[in-house]
Amino acid sequence: MATLDVTACSRWYGNVVAVNDVTMRIAPGITGLLGPNGAGKSTLISMLAGFLPPSAGTVTLDGAPIWKNQEVYRVLGLVPEREATFDYLTGRDFVVANAELHGLPDPGAAAQRAVETVAMTDAQGRKIGEYSKGMKQRIKMAAALVHDPAVLLLDEPFNGMDPRQRLHLITLLRSMGAAGRTVLFSSHILEEVEQLANHIEVLVAGRHAASGDYREIRRLMTNRPHQYTITSGDNRALAAALVADRSTSAVSLDGDTLRVEATEFLRFAELLPRVARDAGVRLYEITPADESLESVFSYLVQA
């Protein structure tokens, strides 16, 4: 059992703040680090992996600082986002070398086991330079798993994977989480994180925006003001009927379109067609105005 603690941690590059006063605890089980691109996820993972010192605050593994402490790698496995490995080695040689560097008593057997875990046995004799992106990801995974670490850090592990590889990785990570390991992976895709993580940490613009299980995050993300633009047969009559209900917080008429801000997503979804029918107004078009992930995230930061 191993726990990562990030305490009042900030990291800046010159005037740019990449991680801003983040405090979080990553306990055994699967934690998803969710945030849009540029949110500071990789910076945080670099600090957790011991390749970047925090500008302020601390990052520890079971109480021991990670920066300048190569002993943490005995219990920590890292799957970096960058693809670069030793392309001139075969997959198997690469994993064996990793096992040797960990000082394992039987590097060959450990490598064999790790290669089997990621289902790369058939391709292990080929040079890594010839691998596809998904295969490289898997051989990096085998290298990270070869010493059976209690903590596994994965930076955007699903990037470039096809659906089958994705499913395989999800199964693998689930089994690791179930075995009591501390697994942290980053992603900018909510569905990916929701599918896999028991616990989600949301990072937006360097700040810790939300923390909780996926239901909580989902609720935070759906229970926010939703904006719609509507065109209908009679915008003014529809506006009058909509503003009477408490699920809307603002209604405005803008030329041919009607803008509505709804506070309660589900209630509004039921309300709109009913109100339109009762008022005898024909709906032509309903467009959500701000469904991009970035706007969802920026809402969370303001909350």
């Binding site: 990449a18 990789s42 790698y73 970096p80 986002e81 040797e100």
Partner: protein, 237 residues
């Protein structure tokens, strides 16, 4: 020293196209010996002077640059060093293992061809040996310096090239005071002390040369390990 790191570094240096470049440079060195032997008749001393100038002034700094940065620079650039660093292995061990490979490459591709060239010129065993020991000293210092440079900066090759070509070739031979801080002169001092009297002139005292060589190699190796320990590897967010 770590056998796995030595093996990986050897494959990185000798497995790629770099080995051909090193091989060609090595053959060129031997070729200089053969060429001067055939083209410059009479006493071998003029030929030996030419070999000394080219080998110590240009080839050794260049070899040092290629293998010193080559054993670690590309891995830092493409980020694959993360696979070495995410291990419970002392950073000093990593540096020392890489240096062993760099030094062996220099011996194989520069020092031995130098000795061979000196022998072909007809310099005699003692002079050939002197070239070998001097070349080894220069090679070791260059490997350490350029590996350290590669750990410190991503622009190691450019800085190293300017150093090798401008400093060692020009400044060191033109400005007398600068000779004390010229690796080439240290190595020549060692070479001159082994070779028969008068064959190789040196401008730095033997004692000072040895002290500088040992101190730079030891301190440089230690400092490279220390810097590797705090190497920042962060992908752009």
């Amino acid at each position: 020293m770590n056998r796995t790191i030595v093996r990986l570094a050897a494959r990185a240096i000798l497995g790629g196209k770099r080995v051909w470049l090193l091989g060609v440079l090595g053959v060129l060195l031997v070729g200089i010996g053969v060429g001067t032997r055939l083209l410059v008749p009479g006493s071998p001393s003029a030929s030996l002077d030419a070999l000394r100038t080219i080998a110590f002034g240009t080839f050794l700094p260049l070899f040092g640059l290629i293998v010193g940065t080559g054993v670690i620079g590309p891995e830092i650039d493409d980020g694959s060093i993360v696979h070495l660093l995410s291990k419970p292995v002392s950073r000093h061990t990593i540096v020392q293992s890489k240096l062993v490979v760099a030094l062996l490459a220099i011996v194989g591709f520069a020092v031995l061809p130098m000795v061979l060239a000196a022998a072909i010129i007809g310099a005699g065993a003692q002079t050939a040996l002197a070239f070998g020991v001097g070349g080894l000293c220069a090679g070791a210092v260059y490997c350490v310096l350029f590996l350290l440079l590669a750990v410190i900066t991503r622009h190691a090759v450019i800085i190293g090239l300017v150093y090798a070509l401008v400093w060692e070739s020009l400044v060191g031979s033109v400005i007398p005071g600068a000779r004390n801080v010229s690796v080439q002169q240290w190595a020549l001092s060692v070479t001159g002390s082994i070779a028969p009297h008068g064959v190789v002139d040196a401008h730095v005292g033997l004692g000072l040369a040895w002290v500088l060589i040992v101190v730079v190699v030891a301190l440089g190796t230690w400092y490279a390990g220390t810097r590797l320990r705090v190497l920042v590897l962060a992908s752009e967010d």
